[in-house]
């Protein structure tokens, strides 16, 4: 449900190829670093593993100025609405790489405090497992994202982004109507989704 619904017959034209080439080779990351994976990201961005050769040297810590959000580290339930707001404020085209097991699935923290995977609240394109993943792994994840971008087409609908904004609107409605904090609204939505057997709130 949260998967990128690529139409089975996506024909990428020459124009798509050019545009995708430009996009994939200039992915400016938004390092959403909360924990140890951010340290591995730092070494990946440094000279030995060198992220700059992929065109991704410009770290922009603002959602307005970046196109790839790297979620580096544990995301707690308290942080979830903040993450959603920042993802919402990114300009399209945007992609999300969930680095490390904490961001991908909650990692070793199966507790009341940790969000069990960022894909419960945000659409994710690439998951990089590891605790923390080696810099080469994160680099491989970014290369996988580049391969994914190559196959995109401008005529392709990005359903997951539309659904995300709908879920954000629903979250705000719940917050306003029931007087809850963002975290409690997300919790309510997750419970509702669980009852329907779905793992995400968008």
């Amino acid at each position: 449900m949260a998967e990128l619904d690529i139409n089975d017959a996506v024909v990428t034209t020459r124009l798509d190829a050019v545009v995708n080439w430009g996009r994939k080779n200039s992915l400016w990351p938004l390092p959403f670093g909360t924990a140890c994976c951010a340290i591995e990201f730092m070494s990946m961005a440094a000279s030995k593993y060198d992220l700059a050769r992929f065109g991704a040297e410009a770290m922009r810590f603002s959602p307005r100025q970046s196109d790839m959000m790297l979620i580096l580290g544990t995301i707690t339930n308290k942080m979830a609405p903040v993450l959603r707001t920042i993802y919402a404020q990114m300009a399209e085209p945007k992609w999300v790489v969930s680095v490390g097991v904490c961001a991908s699935s909650g990692g070793i923290y199966r507790t009341y405090a940790t969000l069990q995977g960022v894909d419960r609240v945000i659409p994710v394109d690439v998951y990089v497992p590891g605790c923390p993943p080696r810099p080469e792994s994160i680099l491989y994840g970014i290369m996988k994202l580049q391969e994914k971008i190559e196959k995109e087409s401008m005529s392709m609908r990005k359903d997951h982004i539309a659904r995300f904004y709908e879920s954000l609107a629903r979250q705000e409605t719940i917050q306003a109507e029931q007087g809850l904090t963002g975290q409690q609204a997300i919790r309510t939505m997750l419970t509702g989704a669980a009852e329907r057997g779905v793992g995400t709130i968008f």
Partner: protein
């Protein structure tokens, strides 16, 4: 050393004591707690290192106070450390130490957040590490480890199973 001081100046306040490999712990009743703290402050134990609590649910059944509120102090002059425990029951409040020890402010908020023990006289008694309307107090033993609900989603699907339960 400090324990001897306490025994000398406030005899009978220490209800229990033990030491293990160099650290010293005393148990004090809530009624005499503030007097002991004031003595500690005078004797140079001016760094309040931590306030935390422990939940012993089986003690509640026996009628003894359920929580142990644990305080740690450091005497910067002679590097002596002291641990002090006070037993409180569920619903009982503790007096605040924010007047003498500024660090007590957030420590007591954390204890309130995670255990539900209120501190009388605290200037800003609200949750610290969980969010404002978090239901419950997580570090109590009767609070489920995984939050007990959809956060961890026992038996639910992974997001990319298209909703199927396999």
């Amino acid at each position: 050393m400090i324990i001897e001081h306490i025994d000398a100046q406030l005899p009978g306040t220490i209800t229990d004591r033990h030491a293990f490999r160099g650290d010293q712990t005393i148990v004090v009743a809530k009624a005499t707690f503030l007097a002991v703290v004031e003595l500690l402050h005078r004797e140079g134990f001016q760094l309040l290192v931590d306030i935390t609590a422990v939940d012993w649910p089986e003690r509640a059944e026996q009628g003894i106070g359920r929580f142990d509120v644990v305080y740690h102090w450091l005497n910067l002059a002679n590097q002596e450390r002291l641990r002090l425990k006070v037993t409180v029951a569920d619903g009982e409040t503790m007096p605040t130490l924010t007047g003498t020890f500024k660090t007590a402010n957030w420590f007591e908020r954390e204890v309130f957040d995670l255990f539900g023990i209120r501190f009388e006289g605290h200037p800003d008694m609200r949750r610290l590490v969980t969010w404002d309307d978090f239901p419950g107090h997580p570090l109590r033993k009767d609070f489920p480890l995984d939050g007990g609900d959809a956060f961890c989603m026992e038996g639910c699907t992974a997001p990319y199973n298209h909703g199927s339960r396999e």
